[in-house]
Assembly symmetry: C2
Homo-oligomer: 415 residues x 2
Amino acid sequence: MTSAAGAPGAVPDGAGFDRAWSSLLPVGRAPTGGYHRLAWSDADLGCREWFRQQADAHGLTLDEDHNGNQWAWWGEPGPDAVVTGSHLDSVPGGGAFDGPLGVVSAFLAVAALQAAGVAPGRPVAVVNFSDEEGGRFGLACLGSRLMAGEVDPDTALARTDPDGVTLSEARSRAGFGDRRPGPDPDRLGRIGIFVELHIEQGRRLAVDGVPVGVATAVWPHGRWRLDFRGEGNHAGTTAVADRHDPVLPLAHAVLAAREAAATGDALATIGRVEAHPGATNAIASRATAWLDARAPLPEGVRAAVGRVEDAARAAAGREGVALTVAEESWSGGAEFRPELRAALAAVVEGRLGKVAQLPTGAGHDAAVLAASVPTAMLFVRNPTGISHDPAEHATRADCLAGVDALVAVLASLCR
Amino acid sequence: MTSAAGAPGAVPDGAGFDRAWSSLLPVGRAPTGGYHRLAWSDADLGCREWFRQQADAHGLTLDEDHNGNQWAWWGEPGPDAVVTGSHLDSVPGGGAFDGPLGVVSAFLAVAALQAAGVAPGRPVAVVNFSDEEGGRFGLACLGSRLMAGEVDPDTALARTDPDGVTLSEARSRAGFGDRRPGPDPDRLGRIGIFVELHIEQGRRLAVDGVPVGVATAVWPHGRWRLDFRGEGNHAGTTAVADRHDPVLPLAHAVLAAREAAATGDALATIGRVEAHPGATNAIASRATAWLDARAPLPEGVRAAVGRVEDAARAAAGREGVALTVAEESWSGGAEFRPELRAALAAVVEGRLGKVAQLPTGAGHDAAVLAASVPTAMLFVRNPTGISHDPAEHATRADCLAGVDALVAVLASLCR
């Protein structure tokens, strides 16, 4: 048995890599190739069963907490554990890598260390955080934020999906109804350090020609729902002067979001819109747009949202349409600790020969945990930058490089 | 037994009016008060059953054709029949009167003539045209247009609803799978004259202070589907320059439709929009808008659609998004025969003391039939003008005035 230092004999197992991916890839995949692994859906439950099987196959001890997060322990469950992992849920029609890459890589890194006979100097765990995307109930990073006490459990349980199913009902249907969600200081307290590996959701590493990078920061971001209430009427008989069409101010909001992003340092996007009742020959009675906004600083996000709201409110006023704006989620982002990311960058560079450090506009459980425990992130190169789409991709070689980097990082942290 | 001339003893039966409405109103009504009587849905089948019961209660002979239209005959089924009626289906979330008012009034008018002992000089029928709204498969006036040979049956059968169910499948589920739709010259040939009574879908009669009017024309109108194909991506990491967001040109199309209506003589409306996959934190990969456009003349409709398409195409080009525009339906409208509408106006004025003549932008089966047979329409006052919405309304007194006018018109035509 070797010491963990450097773990030179611990290398990713290509055959194990292929086995792990081929067992996970069919779960929740649509005929079009996109993934629909929304929280507590059958596909999500399939992913959770896959996690249990992986834990068992690697001789790890399974622990499933009351917030839906899954933990697989190598050694005692804390304290001062090195925890690594990500999430297995997806946005509607998402890609294969956003989330799963971090969980698959975590199991493979543990396997590589085990195969090399490494005896870790502190507990190690693989984690699957529940409902990271918020793709069903609109609350991102819900599993980690419930654990950290950042979300009121009753508010979360009352949230509904687009079919009107509450989170409470969805948990019950999934056989999880007897577990009450809420703060979990015990499990949070077991984490000595958290490292999340994730596919990059941009092209920075591709441009730099680097397979694996280290995160410097996660931008603050939030989600807002704009509800426009007008007056339904016949599309073929209602004079323009008599119309109160909620789709018009919605359109102005869409354009204002782009304008705010194009002329500021924020990103602002409306990717989900609805008009009711949705008849071609009827003026809609109400319409809803969901706004996603992010920026390096919170005030940048607020400024972008303010510009969208101002434009929407002015257009709604002209049309005689009522507008309500609700903040559905807010994440203050995270600046990762400089000394930790420098140390990890050195380890990755030592292993792979090069490294990059970069921020991201994407939200992650790592940003939630960073408020409580030392936290770091590794990014794996994404050749097109496409994410949250079936075309999201990373090469097999880069994914294996990511596992290799994670092996070295875990070995370094377990010294 | 009196002659039909004038039918002075034939008056609407208020108690019968209340019974007819109270038996129909619960069918397909949502808890919010709106109606969802989409073609071949359970609610539509409930309406069809109601029609059978009404035919039976009035001693009329039921005939259901292969296009889904229902006929209730007083006397022999043609030739040279006076046919009156409308449709029982609704748009999603529609009102109680658009369609049903014409069918209910037709049965009540026949009942009034029967009660007065009128012996009609020619066959009379009440009709329920199938799928007038096109609220499920996107083809308006489908029952009458199939009968008239204006729509290819195979094209219609292959159309899908928002859940992906084809018209063919929907007909089969409704027990109608063994009837092949298509041209029906025999039934069309039985019609000597068609009179459709309908709630007004505007405020013209309310402004004029007239309970019942006669239609001069139905504007030409059509429906177009604009499909924008962009590139799905992460909303929080994709730079503006790398985006191909299909929701942006959709927004430009919405604004262009309003601009075309506000500055031309057309009406142009986008009341149905979709963005896929519909995740808050993802740029949509594709988006669709449905455009409804109408004008007094076909070239006015084409000009409005052209302006919307030009604006959408320019915006799509700037965004690197592909746009396809498909005409989903087209109706050339109808100018009703001046001598017939003058005669009907005289009858209505003689009965009610006043009348108005007015065109409409709404499509109707009457406009389809007008190409083949003498056709006329009566409108009943709508105090708010609201239609295609649960708030659509006509007073009981005006509805009874409409029946009274229809009694006089039928009596006049049956002389």
